[in-house]
Every structure is written in C-alpha cells, then in structure tokens.
C-alpha cells in the first residue's frame, strides 16, 4: 500500500462532499501523475484561500475579499436584496446571473426539531440592512421545503413593518416539465400560483 503521506492525502480528500475513498484515491493518483504542474497549482490555490478567505460581514458570502465581490460590485442594484439559506444557494442563483441585486445569506433555516432558532440565523443583520434604507425589494429565495417556507413566512412577517416590497420565488411547473410527470404537490402549487396570460 501507499506511504503514509499519500494515505493522509487520500483520506483528507475522501471526506470532501461527493468524493469518497475510491474517488479520492483516483484523485491522488492523478495528482501524483501530474505533480509537476498540478500540485504547485493546487497548493497555491489552497494557500491563497487559507490566507484570504473570510465571510463577508455584510451578506455572509464567502470570498477572499472584504466586503465580498458581489457587495463591492457597484454595477449591482443595491435596491434589490435576495435572501437565501446557504452560500451554495447564493452561488446557484448567481451562476445564472439573472439576479442583479445583492444577497443576504441566513446561514440555515428555522427548524424546531433541529434546534435552529431565529437568533441562530443572521436575521437581525438582515433587518439591520433593510432598516438602514436604500432597499426597495427583498426577494425571499428559500427552498420549497417545510423549513424553507416556514423561514420565508417568518421573514415576511418580520419585514412587514418596513417600507419594502417583499416577494418570493414562484413554485410550480418546472421549465420543460410535463404535467403528466409532476407529483400532485407540485401540480397543486402550480395551480394555486396560476396567473393571467399576457
């Protein structure tokens, strides 16, 4: 079997989400094979992240800049704020580049069973940002789960007293989806959220 260093690297990689021991060993072998170029590149990238990584004090995004690249981007619309549960949701939304405003990462979702309460999420920071003014619309982009929707409802209530428009992502028919293949829950939502044509 391989030396302890290689074993250590493999077991560290194996713990990454989506990998596992087999994929980790494959990745290690690839790195060994391409050690001339790939290893220094990876080391440098990891070092850079380790030295500079931080959570954006404003929105909760992780970036190597403070405030993060999105918060400091002046071309973005500061009047529009999109609230998400996790950083991964922010990245998913921003990948599509459809939303031009800024974000706010809650750091989770309300769950009595998991012991996640309002004070465990960055809700006060969110209310602080809205209170500071300059925001016209808050988009609640929570997951369509029990906890996600409960959190959205909770936030909507807390935001009620502020002079902002609070909106929520639509639920229903996925683009390219066929009615026949949808579960009843999704169909019911789509029907509930129907709207006039044109």
């Amino acid at each position: 079997m391989a030396s302890t260093e290689i074993e250590r690297l493999a077991s560290a990689l194996a713990r990454l989400p989506g990998l596992g021991p087999r994929s980790a060993r494959r990745a290690v072998l690839w790195l060994v094979k391409h050690r001339e170029r790939a290893l220094p590149e990876l080391l440098e990238a990891l070092g850079g992240v380790q030295d500079n990584l931080s959570e954006c004090p404003q929105c909760g995004n992780v970036d190597t800049r403070v405030p993060c690249g999105i918060c400091s981007d002046l071309r973005r619309d500061a009047r529009s704020l999109c609230v998400v549960e996790e950083v991964s949701d922010l990245w998913a939304l921003d990948r599509a580049r459809l939303f031009t405003g800024r974000y706010h990462v809650l750091g989770g979702r309300l769950s009595a069973l998991d012991g996640v309460r309002p004070e465990d999420l960055s809700i006060d920071q969110l209310l602080g940002r809205v209170e500071a003014g300059g925001i016209d619309e808050v988009v609640l982009a929570m997951n369509a789960t029990l906890e996600g929707q409960t959190t959205a409802h909770y936030l909507a209530e807390r935001l009620e007293s502020f002079p902002v428009r609070v909106t929520q992502l639509a639920h229903g028919l996925p683009v390219g989806g066929e009615l026949d293949y949808l579960d009843e829950g999704t169909l019911a939502q789509a029907l509930r959220a129907r709207r006039p044509v044109g």
Partner: protein, 361 residues
C-alpha cells in the same frame, strides 16, 4: 389472471419459491408457520407501503442469509398486451432500502399503485374496532391511498409539520407567533387535503356499502368524525386559536390526525367495538370487499385474505365465495386445511406450503 409467475427469493422462510399458473381463486394450504402468510406478505409489497405486517425491511430477508430479498410477479394486462413485470427487492449491501422495478426499470414504490390495486384482510385486523383510533386511521388511510396516491405526500408533509409545531409548543419560552404561523400554514394546507381525501373515500365507501344486501354479512355503517375543520382557512384559524390550549396539552389537539373512523352495525345500530367477534369480522370483510370494488376500477385488483374462510360459518363462507367469484379482483387465501374451500376447490389454483416450500396440489 392479474398476478402470475410469482417469485420469492430469500424472503422470510422462502429460499426460492415460484408460483405459476395462478387462477381467480388461489389457495395456500399448510400448517401454522409453514410460510403461507409470507407469500401474501410478499404480494402485499407490490403496493406502496410496508406490506400487510407493516414489517421493517430488514425483517423480510431470510434469517441467517446474506440479507436482501426479492419478490416479483407478472401482471396481466386487460387489453391482452404483454404482462408487466413488477418487482420489489432490497440488496444485500443496502438492506434498508426498498427498491422497485417495473419491467426491469427502476421505479418508485408509489408508482406501483398505478398498476395494481391491492387490498388485504389479516387476523391482526380482527381487533381493529376495539383498537386505538390511530389503527383505524391507518386502516382508512390505506384505503384512501389506494384511491388517491397523493394522500401519501400530504400525510408525510403534515406529519413533519405537526412534529415541528409540537416541538415549538413544547419549548420553555413562549413560541414565536410568526414562526408558529409559518408551520401552521403547512399544517392547514396539507391537513385540509388529507381531511378532504378521507371524506371522499368514506363517502364512496358508504355508497358502495349501501348496495350490499343486509344478509348474511353484517353491513357496517361508517362515518368520519372530523378531528378538525376540513377547509384550509378554518383549520389555520383553529390552529392559531388553539395555541395556548395545545401548549398546555403538550400536543396539537385539532386537525386530521385526530380524525376518527366511526363504524356501527346497521340494523342493530350498535358500535362495531361492542359487536360479537363474528359480527366484527363480517363487517371487516364487507368493508374490505367494498373498497376492493372501488379500488379496482380502471386497474387490476388483488385481494389477500389471510385465514378468513376458516372463521366463517358455512352460510357466510359460501356467500363470501360467491361475492369473490363475481368480483373482478383476483383472490389469494390461506388456510390450515382445504376442507373450508370445498366450494371453490375445482376452480382454484391450490398450493401446499411446508417449511418455506410451495408445491402445486
């Protein structure tokens, strides 16, 4: 016939069992513990859910084996097209995951109900009327589910929201009203759909039962006693108004999780729980047959009757066989001896079951 070419592999006490050339009536005869009910249980897994024993998956694999099991059956198609092969199994390396295949392709367990309407009656259900309200709700829900597959989705969502609300109410601190309201919206939405689906099923059963002759089976009168309002807004309001009371009680006291299926014997107008054992059994049979009639509309039906014939007197037994013969559903019955089945012996497919092995008699 609806189900045929049935195979059980490493299932309970069956190492490898095959049943071919099934008929409208199918009899499994053998001593106690031979493995008759195991065959019915295997068939019951061709429907969504945990089967007629509500067993855990790990209990289904043959004891002392490597773990994992499989059950398969061919389902005849009404238009004479090729039969559809239904299979459910657990792999030895993932014994706690139930898998389903339809014609060799992975499918969801809920999808099975599109192909087949399965109903069953077992000796364990004899206590149904004197059992808890929860047992009768489960009985009703299984009937609802066979008619409205979406019921499972709403039940799961409702249960999750109910646990969340109860946890919130149990907190030492006064629960946050905005948070509670968010959870209650889910409860109201899914709860209303559950209540309405149950009411529809009960109404359909009432109509179906009304067509039955009063003899020789006691006809049950059934009704749904609602545990909460059936309209979404009303349920949401009732939940909001009940917070203080529910906090004191430590649980949610309004909603469809408090529904009760009321069963009364027609004629005597006596609550089913107070009727004789034989009358209770007769009412259960009437309910099961009425539901089988409803569920089998538009798809093949299968009825699994465990140890049913032996406990009926000859008149009722003959009447039961008559009704089953007229019904569209394929019937699988078990018994310790063949004598009670004399009336249908000639038209039935009979297997002897012994020590987990099955032989055509």
């Amino acid at each position: 016939m609806a189900l045929d070419r049935i195979t059980l592999s490493r299932f309970r006490n069956h190492a490898e069992t095959a049943l071919d050339a099934a008929a409208h009536f199918n009899l499994l005869v053998g001593e106690n513990g031979a493995g008759k009910t195991n065959v019915l249980e295997a068939l019951s897994l061709l429907a969504p859910g945990r089967g007629l024993r509500r067993a855990g998956l790990s209990d289904l694999a043959q004891a002392g084996g490597a773990g994992g099991f499989s059950v398969g059956a061919s389902l005849a198609q009404p238009d004479g097209a090729d039969p559809v092969r239904l299979a459910t199994y657990a792999r030895a390396d993932q014994p706690n995951r139930r898998r389903v295949q339809v014609n060799g392709a992975e499918a969801s367990a809920n999808g099975l109900s599109e192909w087949l309407a399965l109903g069953w009656l077992t000796p364990a259900m004899d206590r149904l009327f004197s059992d808890s309200a929860g047992a009768r709700r489960r009985f009703l829900d299984r009937m609802v589910l066979a008619l409205e597959p979406a019921h499972a989705h709403h039940s799961a969502r409702y249960e999750a929201a109910l646990r969340e609300r109860n946890r919130l109410l149990a907190d030492e601190r006064e629960p946050d009203p905005a948070w509670l309201e968010g959870v209650e919206r889910h409860l109201a939405r899914h709860g209303a759909l559950i209540a309405q689906a149950r009411a529809r099923t009960v109404a359909a059963l009432v109509d179906e039962l009304a067509t039955l002759p009063a003899e020789p089976f006691a006809v049950p009168l059934i009704a749904l006693e609602a545990g909460g309002p059936a309209a979404e807004e009303d349920l949401a309001l009732a939940l909001a108004q009940g917070r203080r009371r529910d906090r004191q009680a430590g649980r949610t006291l309004t909603g469809p999780h408090r529904d009760e299926l009321l069963v009364t014997m027609a004629g005597k107008m006596m609550p089913a729980a107070d009727c004789s054992t034989g009358e209770q059994k007769a009412m259960l049979i009437a309910l099961t047959l009425a539901h089988a009639g409803l569920a089998a509309r538009g798809r093949p039906g299968v009825l699994l009757l465990d140890e049913v014939a032996a406990h009926l007197d000859p008149v009722r037994r003959a009447a039961l066989f008559d009704r089953l013969r007229q019904g569209a559903a394929q019937v699988w019955m078990t018994g310790t001896e063949l004598a009670p089945f004399e009336d249908i012996r000639g038209e039935a497919a009979v297997w002897r079951v012994e020590g987990g092995r099955v032989m055509r008699a």
